[in-house]
């Protein structure tokens, strides 16, 4: 099955490339639905809830884009992709954008012909081990069996980390997070490694999360962000500035509670430009004036989305850390809306 998907995708990439390169926005509008590639299931980032509704931090980006472009945060078709299938799905036009814990790297941006529109989560690769193993540092993992999702940057970081520290390991390649969880919990691997946020999210779903620890080493930079196909700059701009709108909204103090009030007009011209009561930013993007208003209303500003899905009050319990606003000592820094 997998092979036929890849083959089919390769053929479609060949035949439809000409068509797909132009006018993703028109396609989305004509379709009335945004096709958004997400993970096959990582609680907190993208996973269906008990009612079958997709929820999560990455899902919120998809919904915000759908709200901005189509006016309906629910007009999204979520396409689950694995680490291996995601790029083919995007390149072939099967999805309009990917919001799937994808690390922004040079070769993906330049060689694979994608366009990363920003960073919605600053992450790094970590290790999770059972507490009973008594390991306190990743450098003590000589000879360990390591579960790893195949087709990811973590696979390459892992090889580099163990080689540069001159210790050996046995990789167990795995397709999805769920399989990794199964093997890890059964003790078929000693260590599970992926982005630290993913580890926290996975651990939160365990029966006894406290039996497992994240090792202190963060062995890589993993700036995760949404991406689109290279070459369709109009569409790239829409996704980029939707993400920036969520980030700016937090910085400017726009929340889902006060947004309607603020949309009437405020003293701050940037808020006015963002929410459409002043200027023509929406028109420049090829959208209407209320695009950002709808995007922010879809799930709240960046901080609200973070707190609701992966923040400290959720089982996943991630601190803002690097993902705080630049004004709070973090790295989040949206270019101005001007």
């Amino acid at each position: 099955m997998k092979k036929s998907v890849i083959l089919g995708a390769a053929t479609i990439a060949g035949l439809a490339a000409g068509a797909a390169a132009a006018g993703t926005m028109d396609d989305v509008k004509a379709r009335g639905k945004l096709n958004c590639g997400v993970t096959t299931g990582l609680v907190g980032f993208a996973a269906p809830d008990a009612n079958g509704e997709w929820q999560g931090f990455d899902v919120a980006v998809c919904r915000a884009v759908a709200a901005a472009v189509l006016g309906d945060a629910n007009a999204v078709e979520f396409v689950p992709t694995t680490g291996k299938t995601r790029f083919t799905a995007l390149a072939s036009g099967e999805v309009d954008m990917l919001a799937r814990n994808t690390t922004w790297t040079f070769s993906r941006d330049v060689d694979l012909k994608f366009e990363f529109v920003g960073i919605n989560y600053y992450d790094g690769q970590g290790f999770m081990v059972p507490k009973s193993l008594g390991v306190s540092s990743a450098k003590e993992l000589d000879g360990a069996t390591v579960c790893i999702q195949t087709g990811t940057t973590t696979e390459l970081n892992l090889a580099d980390f163990f080689r540069s520290n001159n210790i050996s390991y046995e990789p167990v390649p795995i397709e999805t997070n769920a399989e990794a969880q199964q093997q890890y919990l059964a003790g078929a691997c000693d260590v599970y490694t992926t982005d630290a946020s993913g580890l926290a999210a996975t651990r939160a779903t365990f029966e006894n999360p406290n039996d497992h620890v994240l090792l202190p080493e963060i062995i890589s930079k993993e700036p995760l962000g949404p991406l689109v196909r290279h070459g369709d700059n109009e569409w790239g701009d829409v996704v980029r500035w939707t993400l920036n709108a969520l980030i700016s909204a937090e910085e400017l103090g726009i929340t889902s509670a006060n947004i309607d009030e603020m949309a009437q007009g405020t003293e701050n011209p940037e808020i006015n430009r963002l929410l459409g009561s002043e200027g023509t930013l929406g028109e420049m993007l090829g959208l209407d004036a209320q695009w950002a208003l709808r995007a922010i209303k879809a799930g709240g500003n960046y901080g609200e989305v973070f707190a609701k899905n992966i923040g400290e009050d959720t089982p996943i319990g991630l601190a803002r850390g690097l993902n705080a606003q630049w004004t709070d000592g973090g790295l989040l820094y949206s270019p101005p809306f001007r």
Partner: protein, 422 residues
Amino acid sequence: MTTLTDPPKEQFRLSMLLYDTRYRSATIQVIALIGFMLLAAWIISNTMQNLAALGKPVEFGFFAEPASYDINQRLIDYTSRDTHLRAAFVGLLNTLVVAVLGCVTATILGVVIGVARLSHNWIVARIMTVYVEMFRNVPVLLWIVFIMAILIETLPAPRAFRGENPEASMMLGDTVAITNRGVYIPEPLFSNTLGDIHLFGDSSLRFNVSLDLMAILVVLGIGIWVSRWIKRRADRIQEQTGDRPVTWWQRTAVIVVPMAILLYLLGFHLGYPELKGFNFKGGTHLRNSLIALWLALSLYTAAFIAEIVRAGILAIPKGQTEAAAALGLRPRRIMRLVILPQALRVIIPPLISNYLNLTKNSSLAIAVGYMDITGTLGGITMNQTGRELECVLLLMLVYLSISLLISAIMNWYNESVKLKER
């Protein structure tokens, strides 16, 4: 008197291509061929153009780049600094290993089950029927995943072997460890090793051939040849005198004695697995993924082979069995000497397709993380380099070559067993 004249030579006219039945079929075929070639050319040029427009022209330079990923099961030396080509080579060998293991096991199982299904013993025949229907009617992917899940969930983890009163212990006098990461068995080691021959220098296709293994194979081959010579000699004596000399000890000795001497000279000993750190060290590690894939493919394909064997046996008229029985042959010898040699002619051709199926099904390996060629070249390499078209084309070429090779070998074997018509 009549004169014989040649019929007037018919002039060839263009319209005859269409209206003359002698030429019409050729015309249609030529037109169809041209149309097909145009279509193929259009697809290829379209693909090339679109890929070039995407900025991804078809090129294979990435093969010389470092792969940067590790592979757990490698039959040849490989590190993450080796090239993508080397990684593909490692994957290819892994594919071949599971294909060969699978074909051998499936054949043995299939023949036994196929014969047992025809057994007069009601229970045996029914059990075999259940087996065949069960395995044949469930997709092989499910069997692979199912067996993998059983291995992971039911077997003890290595840490269960640790401590004063371990929950699990090694088997067969502490030589075999069965864990949920695979089975560790003793490995053959040679203290006076003859070394290796290094082929292809430092290139990505470098390959070491163990001289120890070569020596063992040569001695074994000579032993078998001498043994057959003794058998032929015994046949001759039997034909001349009617008495067959007792040769079994000679035939055993010419194989066993030289082998024992060779192994002694090479300093043969076994390396046992030991629990060290996180895992067992030493010995040969048969990984879960290999075992699950091997078992599932063998069991699944054996069900088909069993049916082929049964069909082959049923194709031999009952009279043959009765005639052989009338000559006083026991049922076992009837099967071995009369039925199976004839049945093989019916069995071999469909058997070839099953070998091909098994080999191609081994590409499902990625479901359990077995790093075959689909997992390396068609998986990680493709994903890291983004060269979908190149990788998939090469992958197709590799499977095509393997399949054609198997076909060629099996067809050659088929030639040797098929009915010799004189």
